[in-house]
């Protein structure tokens, strides 16, 4: 690894510009070329090209965001991921919870009152919850409220399928009929089984994660894709992850957005597996996000992740290929459990976007304009 980087500095100076030239001309860059960019230290050059490409794909004068609520309906989980500080084991009666329906309804009402248009609902893999629970929950939400349900990351969908002995197709189709509108890209981490085995041995493997997304796309649902990096993966494995997203997108066209972030290193076991000098920095974050914009030429939106990077980098990232600032996150439990607590309000997000000289536009989950914040 280190050898590659050192060598890269010397010989690939020209090839970084070559790769960027090609990207600017609208050509698709190869895995090797993405690697060249990720291994370069040319943050500004890569960022400028990512920004230019972003300006071609989305309105250069606008930055979008969404007002929605992150609702973690349960923290009971039997998957034991190393990087997770949120879950509690089944049987943990002291700290484990499953939100009752009235509490969920109350949270939805608060969300709507705050101008929210969506609900991002994710939770642990609760051993007692099968498809009946979700069908009932979703249909009762939809019967009461006009809100977009963006819920159940692929590992949860897989968990429900297994628990209820259904195929993925059957599971997703029944959830959709009960009211599920789209599936978040959570649990993507790094879509390389070597890495997944190391950080989340019991969690959905690459093929299964992609299968959930493939089925969802075929059933007419669009989804997002994510990447959590900066832990035990190599830079080449980051590219491999992005290639799998790009390939599936070629096939189905169902990904609306790509969101990547560095793993948060407090309160989880994964932190112990990453050496201090390998901890990801803001530099890695901005470079990786910029490369994702260039490499994922078929994904329409790139979100900056202020939740994990803080408001300052979250804002700066909007100049490195991102066109969306994500959600104001009325409630967020998972990342804050890992020691990262960045909070914001609509006012703050609007201020940060305006300070860049852009127009803040509130969108819904499907990127349709809700309100222009002038």
């Amino acid at each position: 690894m280190t050898g590659l980087v050192a060598q890269g500095n010397k010989v690939s100076e020209g090839s970084v510009s070559h790769v960027l030239e090609r990207a600017l001309e609208g050509e698709r860059i190869s895995d090797a070329e993405a690697l060249t960019l990720l291994e370069s230290r040319d943050l500004v050059a890569v960022g400028r090209v990512a920004h230019e490409i972003r300006n071609r794909k989305a309105d250069p004068d606008r930055i979008t965001f969404i007002i929605d609520r992150n609702l973690n309906y349960t923290n009971i989980c039997h998957t034991d991921c190393d990087f997770c500080a949120f879950y509690r084991s089944p049987g943990d009666t002291r700290e484990g919870y499953l939100l009752p329906k009235p509490v969920i309804f109350k949270k939805i009402e608060e969300t709507i009152a705050l101008g929210g248009t969506g609900l991002l609902m994710q939770g642990g893999h609760h051993p007692d919850l099968g498809i009946d629970y979700y069908e009932d929950l979703f249909s009762s939400i939809k019967a009461r409220y006009k809100i977009h349900l963006h819920a159940l990351s692929p590992p949860e969908v897989q968990h429900i399928a297994r628990r209820s002995k259904l195929t993925l197709w059957q599971t997703i189709s029944r959830l959709r009929d009960a009211g599920l509108d789209s599936i978040p890209g959570g649990g993507g981490e790094i879509l390389v089984d070597r890495v997944r085995h190391e950080i989340a041995p019991k969690k959905t493997k690459t093929k299964e994660w992609l299968d959930v997304m493939r089925h969802a796309h075929r059933l007419g649902m669009s989804t997002t894709a994510t990447m959590m990096y900066g832990h035990v993966e190599t830079v080449a494995e980051r590219v491999e992850h992005m290639r799998r997203i790009r390939d599936l997108q070629d096939e189905t066209g169902g990904f609306r957005a790509f969101i990547s972030w560095t793993f948060q290193n407090d309160g989880n076991r994964l932190a112990g597996k990453v050496a201090r000098e390998d901890m990801p920095t803001s530099f890695d974050y901005l470079l990786t996000q910029a490369v994702s914009r260039i490499y994922l030429d078929n994904v329409p939106h790139i979100q900056s992740s202020w939740v994990t990077q803080g408001m300052k980098i979250g804002q700066v990232a909007l100049g490195f290929g991102a066109d969306d600032m994500g959600s104001i996150m009325i409630e967020e439990n998972v990342v804050s459990a890992a020691g990262t607590t960045h909070r914001t309000s609509t006012e703050e997000l609007v201020h940060l976007i305006k300070a860049l000289g852009k127009t803040p536009v509130q969108r819904d989950t499907l990127y349709r304009e809700v309100k222009v914040w002038n």
Binding site: S17, L20, E21, L24, V44, A45, G47, R48, V49, H51, E52, V316, G319, F320, L356, G357, K358
Partner: protein, 581 residues
């Protein structure tokens, strides 16, 4: 590559960087206003590399000490200062500082001490000499980077010595360099808002200039993102450069900037990238330069008396535009203040120009001795039945105007009496509107506060450390509107040439706005203020009489009526109805 070579607003600046040409004030503002973060980052990195920066990034291992937290200044951003009487007040002796530093040096092996502190009035200059000597004797290999310019200035007060003498004594006992603290943003307006008790920014320059002459390298700093504008930030970056341009030690200064090796070659002093350079195409550029510099030097060396000598000689330009073309010329009044310079900058019209102080012009307009003149807003309102207005011109400011200041040791809400000058009726009424509780007494009599206008206000803001409150800013805070100080009034019956004259006045203002540096230079020649100061002053003034200005004027007149200063709020009547965008 294509993207990077694409022509944009920063292309010209990039070219200047590459060819080694200095950036001017406008370039600085262009950079500040750019929203292309990455292009800026790339330019900055280019600038760094052009000055010898490579892949190394420097840092220093130092020990940060504060000799005292007792401070006489009450800066608004400071959470550190206490008074001597407070429980947590401390002032360390030389031996206490040495004990701490030696112990920490054994632990970390730092190579530098960075020590700054409050401006305590409870010690003598010998205290400072003693702590520097003690630290230097205990740790002779450690570089001592000590004291802000404000502290050095404070020591001149304690000792009666000059800045140079203070620095010479400190250097003799071990002072290595000065940190750049206390500079904040230099713009006077900003300083008065964030640090009203601090000495005038010119002392910062005097201190650093004196240090450079003695071979003491310094840093400079900027604290921004509070109340300042982009222009004021650029001004902040530019000013060390202007100052350097006049100091005899200028060249040495530049060479010395590398002395602080941990700063790398890109350290700020002397390397500040902005300089207010005259625009190309004005023939007298070279000859002007020395004059302009002298003006700056006057200000730097003697900010009080000499910088503001108002020469008051006749304007040679006045004769130029007073060409007779036949028929009765318009008799145009001109206030003898510098705020008229943009309006008369390149006035292309046949007029008889009559100069006078505001009260004189008011009288002559009402007597029908002038066909048109700028008169104070309140005087116009009191006589509106006999006057019509030019629809496109006024003198206003949106926020600080500098030349109308309320000077008060007391917080404004406690001011019960104001000494006022009779020179400007509008300013007096504005004071009444803003501070309705306060009674007015003639200037010179004892009062909580005093109202200063024009030259006296500008001078005082430089010389007097008492807090100054800008009435234009107070008005904006109160109403959210611009303050209209004067309007162009014409007595009835109207002269036939007024519409044409107004076009010419507007054209002159427009040209003046397009050539701010030439304007500032010429006004500097005529009125004796430093050109850089005038450039900033003119930026604050507005001459367009638009919808916001009209709303500001009407609001002012309504409030004036409420305080009993105006009988009736008149309807504005114009010479002709102009289309106001």
């Amino acid at each position: 590559m294509a993207l990077l070579e694409r022509a944009d607003t920063l292309a010209a600046i990039r070219e200047k960087l590459e060819t080694g040409e200095r950036l001017d004030f406008d370039d600085g503002v262009t950079l500040m206003e750019s929203d292309d973060i990455l292009a800026l980052g790339e330019l900055a990195d280019l600038a760094r590399r052009l000055r010898g920066g490579d892949d190394r990034v420097y840092f220093v291992q130092n020990l940060y000490l504060n000799q005292t937290n007792v401070c006489r200044v009450k800066c608004k951003f400071c959470a550190f200062a206490v008074t001597q009487k407070q429980d947590d007040a401390y002032t360390y002796s030389g031996s206490e500082l040495v004990e701490d530093a030696v112990r920490q040096h054994e632990l970390t092996g730092f190579t530098e001490i960075h020590m700054v502190g409050g401006e305590t009035p409870h010690v003598g200059f010998d205290y400072y000499v003693d702590i520097v000597r003690s630290l230097h004797e205990a740790l002779p290999d450690v570089h001592l980077k000590l004291f802000t310019a404000s502290e050095i200035h404070h020591m001149t007060k304690l000792s009666g010595l000059s800045h140079e003498e203070v620095l010479r004594e400190l250097k003799a006992v071990g002072l290595g360099s000065l940190p750049g603290g206390g500079a904040e943003v230099f713009a006077d307006r900003v300083r008065r808002l964030v640090a009203p008790g601090k000495e005038h920014p010119d002392f910062w320059f005097r201190t650093h200039d004196a240090a450079h002459r003695l071979g003491i390298p310094t840093h400079c700093t900027m604290l921004y993102g509070h109340v300042e504008t982009y222009e004021e930030r650029v001004d902040r970056l530019r000013r060390p450069e202007d100052d350097r341009g006049v100091a005899p030690a200028a060249r040495q200064h530049r060479e010395r900037q590398g002395v602080l090796d941990h700063d790398g070659p890109a350290a700020c002093p002397g390397g500040a990238p902005f300089r207010r350079e005259r625009r190309a195409g004005h023939g007298r550029a070279r000859a002007d330069l020395s004059r302009r510099r002298r003006a700056y030097r006057d200000r730097a060396e003697n900010p009080g008396a000499r910088a503001f000598r108002a020469r008051g000689r006749a304007d040679p330009g006045a004769a130029r535009h007073a060409l007779q073309r036949g028929g009765a010329m318009v008799r145009l009044g001109r206030i003898s203040y510098v705020n008229m310079a943009p309006v008369f900058y390149r006035l292309d019209a046949e007029v008889e120009e009559i100069q006078g102080v505001p009260t004189e012009l008011n009288r002559r307009v009402l007597a029908g001795e002038l066909d048109v003149a700028p008169i104070s807003s309140i005087e116009y309102a009191r006589n509106a039945d006999r006057l019509r207005l030019l629809p496109r011109l006024c003198v206003s400011s949106e926020g600080a105007v500098d030349s109308i200041q309320l000077v008060s040791r007391k917080p404004l809400e406690q001011v019960r009496s104001v000494a006022v000058t009779p020179e400007s009726a509008t300013s007096v009424v504005l004071t009444k509107v803003l501070l309705p509780e306060a009674s007015h007494v003639p200037l010179g009599e004892d009062a909580d506060a005093k109202l200063l206008i024009g030259d006296a206000a500008l001078k005082s803001a430089f010389e007097d450390p008492t807090p100054h409150y800008d009435l234009g800013r107070l008005w904006l805070e109160r109403t959210g509107l611009p303050m209209v100080f004067a309007v162009w009034a014409c007595p009835e019956p109207l002269h036939a040439g007024l519409a044409e004259l107004e076009d010419a006045l507007v054209a002159s203002v427009r040209l003046a706005r397009a050539e701010p540096e030439q304007l500032a230079y010429e006004a500097s020649e005529r009125y004796g203020y430093p050109a850089g100061f005038l450039a900033r002053y003119f930026e604050k003034l507005r001459y367009r009489f638009g919808p916001r200005e009209r709303a500001g004027l009407m609001t002012f007149l309504e409030l004036a009526q409420e305080t009993g200063e105006l009988g009736e709020v008149p309807e504005l009547r114009f010479v002709r109805e102009a289309v106001v965008a």
